[in-house]
Amino acid sequence: MKTSRRDLIAGTGALLAASTLAAPALLGQARPRVVVVGGGPGGATAAKYLARDSQNAISVTLVEENETYQTCFHSNLYIGGFKRYDEIVHRYDRLASAYGIALVRSRATQIDRDRKEVVLTDGGRLPYDRLVLSPGIDLNYDSVPGWSQAAEELMPHGWKPGRQTQLIREKLDAVPDGGTIVMIAPPNPYRCPPGPYERASMFAHVLKRTGRDKARIIILDPKDSFSKQGLFMPDWERRYGAMIEWLGPKVHDGITSVDPKTGTVVTGFETYENCAFVNVIPAQMAGAIARDAGLAPAGGYCTIDPATMKSVVDPTIVVLGDACHAGDMPKSAFSANSQAKVAAMILRGELVGAQTFPARYLNTCWSLIDTDDAIKVGGRYEPRDGRISAVETFISQPGESAETRKQTQAENMAWYDAICADMFT
């Protein structure tokens, strides 16, 4: 057998990792309890991998208030008419029946860190040995002057799944030919970096397909640049002509205010009146339950240990997905799914003495621009210098062949089916 130096180092690493498991803190206790808050990509994946891979040696409880999960990822494909709504809806039943996960259909409102209990909306309490927190984002309703939670029907965000997604589609369908759509894009960091731009592509696709190609889409962006910009912009021009106009802060000079009743958007540069549809995607932050527990001391998002996904504030809690600062990893379903697997492996090591390995993460974000025209960006990540750092990255190239773009979209569709199966079945 030929063994390279790299193999030896890797082997030694695994051996060292195994030998540090000598005395897991909770070995010997009846059945260690993990409570998972949030049934999205992070929480569902963590619950499944903890229950399945421990052969039920760990008691896993998943707290989720909704009966189904409606994916934010691929919701743009529903808006663009590439998927039916029921194709982005998933059930939790199999997590219970196949893996013995206890489903608690309730809203977790608070974490009592001193007593290590999750408090439910009805006052019930769930004690935990370890807590997996995957609450997703909260919207900052104060980040756009004139907009508020009360205005989210008139000027929908569509940045949380469900009714808001459907509202975006309804508003789009009602845009007359020649009408103006204004999208206010969010500041960094936010859920799904290429999402607003894929959504604008889907708007244009639907308008063009339905003969409304005199409508225009104006994106007012607080950022000087955005994800995959060098790929989106030439394709917008090539496929949709002048329909999509992107304005950075140096051009629009800031959002002064919006008026949801009249459909008005005022910027330092121009006033857009009688907009057919205004899509406000506001600034974002970790879900309140994580912030209220003091896990995001700097404000927005929770800081985690890149090797374990544990909160740096409380090592009995891991924070997954959009609610955490994950270094170079974007806020995506793929990222949350990848982080959940590392966290599950680490927690099994602590709670039942399972073997542990060095953390590694993966992400890819696909975006659809038009029929058979998709692009992607992604990377591989490892803990390095105290943060999750990209160690390999890739991105689609401008001017790729139509065949490559078509294949990228086929991959996007196949990935969705696989990752949803990985999370929910």
Partner: protein, 102 residues
């Protein structure tokens, strides 16, 4: 010489079971990453093909080719570039032992 040989033997006896156990556990952990995209069922020419039930040497050969960028595919090139031979072998053993689902 005899002492040296004895040392090697002891090392081998000691190392082999640990190493084998590590491979299985390592394969299972690494495989979790693959199934974010690869399903255990479907036709071989699917847009993202199933990777279970392959001969182990073929599995390693394909991964190695991605790692050397001799096979096209940005995601798989990024994945394979960070896998050691031992890790590829662990994955090949793990997925190779699974039966393709209809």
């Amino acid at each position: 010489m005899r002492v040296a040989l004895l040392c090697v033997t002891v090392l081998l006896i000691h190392a082999t079971p640990l190493r084998a156990a590590g491979d299985i556990g390592l394969g299972q952990y690494l495989a979790a990453e693959c199934v974010s995209c690869h399903q255990p069922s479907g036709p071989r020419d699917a847009d993202i093909p199933p990777i279970v039930g392959w001969p182990e040497d073929q599995f390693v050969a394909v991964l190695s080719a991605f790692g050397r960028k001799q096979r096209d595919g940005q995601v798989m090139q990024a994945v394979a570039a960070r896998l050691s031979r031992e890790e590829m072998a662990a994955l090949a053993a793990y997925f190779g032992a699974l039966t393709p689902q209809p």
